[in-house]
């Protein structure tokens, strides 16, 4: 079983296991490799397992996906996150929930479709437990999850100013984007499994 099987409850030999393995074997294999490249890479560099798993917990939490959140939270514990960090993350998730996608289009005919929603700012009380890098990342991640069309060059500069390198911003962006995929595949397959014809 790979991570998507585990999170979706797809048992070896089941109907959906067979669909995944026989019809789209390369996608199955490389969704798993994407996960491994992001969460168990050959080299973490300065973007370590604690930050990666903390961000994953935040993303799963923003999606309201408790089982996926628990999966990453377990790994965050193994990455030696303090109670203060984990509590701050939970409080940030509770404060940051929204309904996406919203945001503004380039000014013009599409402006009538602009929809407003919150811009998340990490609470001052949590800055110490999270640290400046993680705090800046969570603000960016919230935008990518709920209102990605609001992204602009200043969002990236804020990450660089908080100590992220250009290459780390690429990895961080991939991590958020990949989880946006993984969480949806899992949610979709779970519904399909539950409605499977006998």
């Amino acid at each position: 079983m790979d991570v998507i099987d585990t999170l979706s409850g797809i048992a070896p030999g089941s109907h959906l296991d067979s669909v995944r393995r026989t019809r789209r074997p390369v996608a199955r294999e490389h969704a798993q490799k994407s996960y491994e490249s992001l969460f168990t890479p050959a080299e973490f560099g300065d973007f370590g397992p604690l930050e990666r798993h903390a961000i994953a917990v935040f993303i799963a939490g923003l999606h309201g996906q408790d089982a996926i959140k628990a999966f990453y939270a377990e790994k965050l514990r193994s990455a030696a996150a303090t109670d203060a960090t984990r509590d701050a993350l939970d409080a940030e998730i509770a404060a940051a929930k929204a309904n996406g996608p919203y945001g503004a289009f380039p000014k013009g005919p599409l402006s009538k479709e602009d929809t407003k929603g919150p811009v998340h700012r990490v609470a001052n009380d949590h800055l110490e437990a999270l640290g400046p890098r993680l705090a800046a990342a969570l603000e960016h991640v919230h935008m990518l999850v709920f209102h990605p069309r609001d992204a602009d060059v200043r969002s990236l500069q804020a990450l660089l100013d908080a100590g992220w390198s250009t290459t780390e911003v690429v990895t961080l962006s991939q991590l958020v984007a990949f989880l946006s995929f993984q969480i949806r595949v899992v949610a979709g397959l779970k519904v399909l499994a539950a409605t499977a014809k006998a």
Partner: protein
């Protein structure tokens, strides 16, 4: 030393959804084409992608780029069973329309129109958005794509029922789930690491 972004200026920003060819300008420095390592070149999968700023930027993390690309290609190009290519592209275009990725929507609306020959319907999706009325089968695919794209995800049994009712089997439904989910990956990269501009003639 703190890295710097690349503020782009002086270019036209498209303000409507279109099937026209667009370019994409990065906000972060891609790896220079003549500075790519063997590993980074291999991570492109298609050698021609070395011309693309987008792929040379993502090549900063080659393992993730290669896995992303091979996932993408199997979901969209694998002809074995499942959903016809045109409708995988319809799902991609619908997700991009809802998230607001004008660049991604342009590429996949072109593919959807090419493979389906239903250019007018694709243009209606771009102009009116994902609430558009196309036909029963396309409406079901668009609605499933929308439900998978919303956060929290609103995809449920009624979407599966609607897909089954218009003739999709489980292989095809898995393709809808994969294609819509993958564009929630692609849109977030394209929207946040740079911006589109009309292609030079």
């Amino acid at each position: 030393m703190t890295d710097k972004t690349i503020p782009q200026s002086g270019h036209v920003v498209p303000d409507v959804f279109t099937r026209d060819m667009l370019d994409w300008l990065p906000w972060l420095e891609p790896v220079a084409a003549d500075k790519m390592s063997e590993r980074q070149l291999a991570s492109l999968v298609d050698a021609a992608r070395v011309k693309s700023d987008y792929f040379r930027l993502l090549a900063r993390d080659p393992d993730v780029l290669e896995a992303r690309t091979r996932t993408d290609k199997d979901i969209f190009y694998n002809p074995d069973a499942g959903l016809p290519r045109a409708e995988r592209e319809l799902a991609a275009a619908s997700v991009s329309r809802l998230n607001g990725c004008i660049y991604c929507a342009s590429v996949h609306a072109r593919f959807a129109a090419t493979y389906s020959k239903r250019t007018d319907d694709v243009d209606k999706l771009l102009a009116q958005g994902t609430g558009v009325d196309l036909d029963k089968r396309w409406n079901a695919i668009v609605a499933a794509s929308v439900a998978l794209t919303e956060t929290p995800i609103s995809f449920g049994p009624k979407h599966i029922d609607a897909l089954r009712e218009v003739g999709l089997d489980d292989d095809a439904i898995v393709d809808v789930i994969n294609a819509a989910s993958f564009f929630n990956w692609a849109n977030r990269l394209m929207l946040s690491l740079g911006e589109p501009t009309p292609a030079k003639a």
